[in-house]
Symmetry: C2
Subunit: 345 residues, 2 copies
């Protein structure tokens, strides 16, 4: 691409390069050392040439990249694309460039590549929604290094010594359990996912599940907990296994809505009716959840807003690196819809 440069603009306007630079970003200061006539000539030249400043050169020269990076595990999971949209819009509103990468559910080396690639582009702040990449020693090192250099980071979990934003599922999961128990459920299955590198997702929800169950005096049955992969199909397979046990669970909790959808399908394939034969609950409240047949009971956390919030925390840290470490807990709430009902027997 051969975009026009400042020099082109300067020539066309018959001024020096520095003057062009002043016109472009000098007016932010109260001091405006440029005559109106000159300024107009420059602006006209910019307009005619379709000049846009080269952000790379600006960054190089000024030391400010004006860029934040976001790493998510999978672009195709609505939960994360929702989150990413929130971050993107907030970043753009604050005039930040936005680099989005997904580690995808491939391999650990892939994640390391993604990380390195990002580091090469340089950025002023990082939002990390991928626990995955922390599994590999190499990426942990990269992360530790940039963190030590003072690069602001907001993380979605609690692994490193950085600002943290996470959903607090404790209360909501307690609600989930008491909702189910009050409907007569006692055998409550749990489906959770494993990502790349064996990192387990939803352990927070799992422990809440166990605690809440014990709190209401229901004995734990390890056979009711299924660990599977992160895709819908994985959820489907996991639920299938769970439902073929005897006695089978009368309700299943899945750690996200995708897995819950797989679970719904599994129930359907076994000829069960939701919620009459089986109650199902997910987490995330993806937009689609409210349009499924039946509408999915789920735990919401307004993921789009979470993305915006993550950016705000990052922004605060970038502006003031000395801020004490921030822990942000997002509120979650059980949304009771149509996929839960009385226990069948």
């Amino acid at each position: 691409m051969n975009q026009p440069t400042q020099t082109d603009v300067a020539q066309r306007a018959g001024v020096s390069r520095a003057t062009v630079s002043y016109v472009i970003n000098g007016l932010t200061d109260g001091k405006i050392p440029i005559s109106d006539e000159t300024r107009k000539r420059v602006l006209d030249a910019i307009e005619e040439l379709g000049y846009e400043p080269d952000a790379r050169a600006q960054a190089l020269s000024s030391g400010k990249t004006n860029t934040i990076a976001l790493i998510i595990p999978d672009l195709r999971n609505p939960h994360f694309s929702e989150f990413a949209s929130g971050v993107e819009e907030a970043a753009r509103a604050a005039d930040y460039h936005f680099l989005l990468s997904s580690t995808t559910l491939i391999s650990d080396e892939y994640a390391v590549d993604v990380f390195k690639d990002l580091v090469r582009r340089r950025f002023d702040g990082l939002i990390l929604a991928s626990h995955f990449i922390l599994k590999s020693k190499e990426s942990r090192e990269i992360l530790a290094r940039i963190h030590k250099r003072g690069l602001p980071i907001v993380e979605f979990s609690d692994i490193n010594n950085v600002d943290t934003i996470s959903a607090d599922y404790t209360e909501a999961t307690k609600e989930v359990i008491s909702h189910l128990v009050s409907l007569g459920h006692r055998r409550i299955g749990f489906v959770y996912g494993v990502g790349t590198g064996g990192y387990e997702l939803g352990l927070d929800r799992l422990s809440s599940y166990e605690e809440s169950l014990q709190a209401v005096g229901v004995a734990l049955d390890p056979g009711l907990v299924i660990k599977c992969g992160p895709t819908i199909e994985d959820g489907y397979q996991g639920a299938l296994k769970l439902l073929q046990r005897d006695p089978r669970p009368t309700a299943i909790i899945a750690i996200n809505d995708l897995l819950a959808i797989g679970t719904m399908r599994a129930a359907g394939d076994l000829g069960m009716c939701i919620p009459d034969d089986l109650s199902i609950i997910g987490y995330d409240d993806i937009p689609m959840a409210n349009y499924l047949l039946p509408r999915l009971t789920t735990v919401t956390k307004d993921t789009f807003t979470a993305g915006q919030t993550a950016f705000e925390i990052l922004m605060a840290r970038m502006q003031n690196p000395k801020l004490p470490r921030q822990f942000t807990k997002l509120p979650t709430k059980l949304i009771i819809r149509e996929s839960t009902g009385r226990a069948p027997f």
Copy 2:
């Protein structure tokens, strides 16, 4: 962020900056003018410092950004995130950086901003899956300008004089219609979306719908065609309207699976059973389509692969700008699942 620089590496290894540069990218040539001993010293220094070259400086200096950009309308539509994933993986495999932006379903000015932002970062090639932004005169100008400068572009439609990749829905839509007609349907509704700036999506499918219908001798009824927005909720509302007509359609075609899901929900809310009371067909075959209750009959086009293909076309163009203009038609296919059945009356 204060990453170490080439200079740091050079000092630590006790060599000049140029030598470091050679070690980093000189070995790709057959010519390796560096002694093994020196090379090792340099590589060690890189390792110890955790040095990663600054891609911006590299780009500035070499003139090659090694970056492609992708613009999609909405990150939250599984169809596009699928496509984006395909592009991202292909790009990464080819060692290209990848800039993803979504114009989101907001405003036209927003889209222009996105576009300008991208131009500032400079890139070697562009994949444009957002017709939206072409609606605004300003963005058309930007696009025309960078195109005139010889920047390779692959587009998802046929608007400009660039390489094009698009799905050919003609055959598949013909299949859709004959499938429905053979099941006894005569009143077949059609739900399509309108994006930002009034740009109409799915006009190709609409005209195929009309032609195919006439070809089998079914009279067109404009009242059976509903134009709505692009979200699930829009599809829901649109279908609701359609279904409250008298006589109501016995089948509905939605131009994408999201709208189809909204349609399914609308039917559900009106107490209709799918497919006994109403048949529904979508387009895109998003992963979820095969897990819905009932499984959605849809027209597939392997969107992930489409993303990879788009990148390959772009790559070919970048390597050889003189290539004749490429038109790539993606094959589509009707996948009959459970959401279509005999007409009820």
